[in-house]
Symmetry: C3
Subunit: 150 residues, 3 copies
């Protein structure tokens, strides 16, 4: 089967997917770092490994850790939607221009979203979230056009 590595929409999807997975791995690494800093943890076995003492609070997250977890979860909730629609978009042969707007728009919106979430900046977080959602809706419109109207 001829591969897609020359298809411009696919190449863009590949790069955006890599950026978003990296962003997710970074957020996933920040949470335990915050947890260690604030000496909190969620699993009894983690306390022994990490510090070897009993001064830590089990089962309660420090507000800063909880904020990172919320930002991470919000990203993770949006990624399956983007990956699922993105691959369908490319395989449906939907317009390249739409891919450029929606793929780059979604990726930029999600990177900004995590940054402003961690820095508690409103209304920017809501704006970034809305922009990401609009990109997903744009992808839906163009997928349905490509699939239903050929």
């Amino acid at each position: 089967m001829p591969m897609l590595s020359a298809d411009p929409s696919f190449r863009l999807l590949a790069i955006c997917s890599c950026v978003l997975v990296l962003e997710s791995l970074v957020l996933a690494a920040i949470a335990p770092a915050k947890r260690a800093k604030h000496k909190g943890f969620m699993n009894p076995e983690d306390g022994k490994v990490s510090f070897g003492d009993a001064r830590m609070v089990e089962g309660a997250e420090h507000p800063e850790t909880a904020r990172v977890l919320r930002a991470h979860r919000n990203l993770l909730e949006s990624l399956p939607l983007f990956f699922g629609l993105g691959l369908v978009y490319v395989l449906a042969g939907a317009p390249v221009l739409g891919a450029q707007i929606c793929f780059i728009g979604f990726t930029a919106a999600r990177v900004v979203h995590a940054f402003v979430y961690l820095h508690a900046l409103q209304p920017w977080r809501t704006i970034a979230y809305a922009l990401g959602s609009f990109c997903l809706i744009g992808m839906i419109v163009m997928i349905l056009r490509a699939v239903l109207m050929g």
Copy 2:
């Protein structure tokens, strides 16, 4: 590369994916609406933006908001499984009839699941969840058949 927009399984997957992403975006929009109604919020900066007063409870969700969040999370937990298997199913060239049963069955089950979750209707929620899982298991069986037995 010839695109898949004429493949019947792919077209069905594309439409089901769009329905499920829209369902997820709708549930994601209901949660903040409930939160605003019950004057609760999770982030200190949200309280200032939304209402400008201090009557709200931070960090605790109203039971109605929490219910929407659980319904949303349950959907989000199932979507990656469907998107991942669905694309593999189509690209493996597994039977169209199986795609029609499992893709439509899963999508219908998940729309019903959110509805009955929000209305607290048991045992319908468990039935809808089980039906969705059976569709995923059906997809697994047909993917393994297509890939292993050619």
Copy 3:
């Protein structure tokens, strides 16, 4: 369109995807079983259906149930990353050897991760998590090579 069922990377991705979805369905089934055992539940309507009495605690999870939920959530957070990158990897025509290492490595790491999480075994849980993340990073490197350097 010629299907991918003869492509070795795709076949491996298909099998690994099926294993990971099955693992997720098993973890999803363990949580309610633990909940029933410890007579806890999260939704008022579940109490009536399951037991018909009022001895259960609503809204609080038993530590054992909470542990299963954390293991399940951790798996679910990693699956979209693997499915998204895995399909992009295959469609980009990235090397088969890399697919064998990263797809099998990720799948094995995530199965081990759930097992050691449920048995509270540290530092194995952190090691399994890190191995899974390294496989994702390996996939990113090879996707970018295939897409950017052709």
